[in-house]
Symmetry: C2
Subunit: 190 residues, 2 copies
Amino acid sequence: MATRRIQRTEESRRLLVTAAAELFAEKGYRQTSFIDIAEKAGISRGSIPWHFGNKLGLLEAVLDDRLHAVLTALAPPAGERPSSPLDQITDFIRQPVTRLFITLLAEAVEVDSPIREHYARLHAALRQAVQARIPAEALPAETTPEAFTVLLVGTVIGVHAQWRIAPEAVNLEAVQATIRTLLPASLEQA
Amino acid sequence: MATRRIQRTEESRRLLVTAAAELFAEKGYRQTSFIDIAEKAGISRGSIPWHFGNKLGLLEAVLDDRLHAVLTALAPPAGERPSSPLDQITDFIRQPVTRLFITLLAEAVEVDSPIREHYARLHAALRQAVQARIPAEALPAETTPEAFTVLLVGTVIGVHAQWRIAPEAVNLEAVQATIRTLLPASLEQA
């Protein structure tokens, strides 16, 4: 019985995190209420504080979950030779998860934003994950791994933004081909 | 008398556009009211519909104004040899105007957003302005001017975003140096 209760609890938590992630991406953090989340997840609204404390606790769980998805996508599959790190990283241009980063970004840069600190940790973790996939020795001598990583993460964020706004104006294949042409060939074989 | 009245009218309009641009950048479009704008501009709230029709009309005026500022900054000063187009474009990473693009972006990607179309025109105009400064013959054969422009505008947006969120984690000088190292040297002399 105890095991089944734990399973149900974990299942509820997962459903709430998934619903919240979708709603935050669609409407932003501020505009999303516990009622919206409970309705979408099909779970009683009262269980949200029980699981997450408050709305910031829920945001934290959403960010952790999405970061985990990013890290999993960047990790080479066990026993397999990973595909080019550049392709793996630039593939995030078309990932729905990148939309959440954009929606929350605007609220995070507001004066006295309650979510800024959480959001800053997300960017830092993304950069750390990308930097781990980029061997420093593959970079031109004039660059630093930190600056190169900011550039690569920034490119993914900014190209995704333009594509979300006007998909017909942005040819993602051509942009990814351009990135591969401009970046050092040594990164492809890394 | 008529001339003075016109001057006063143009001055009011300018003050309202400036106040709205600052408030939209700080709080977003939806969260900013006519009362906020009138208070900041020191002008009666009733004059906003008179000048701009409605809030979307005011947004349109703000976007036009900021776009004009971008185009002016990218245009070579009369009679002077312009600085490198790369430096001119990447300098926007630290411009306050870029923050407005980020704040509005989140609202523009929402489902049924009233501002999406206006915002899409802004991105398109930015790309057009950048592409006009980049000579096609300076680009590697494997790239297209369109894809290269999306990449450059995206880089500015995405690096700005990371710097806004955590200025201490982003060394803008090093990122700009990295961009110069990676992009074709032919662009510097363009």
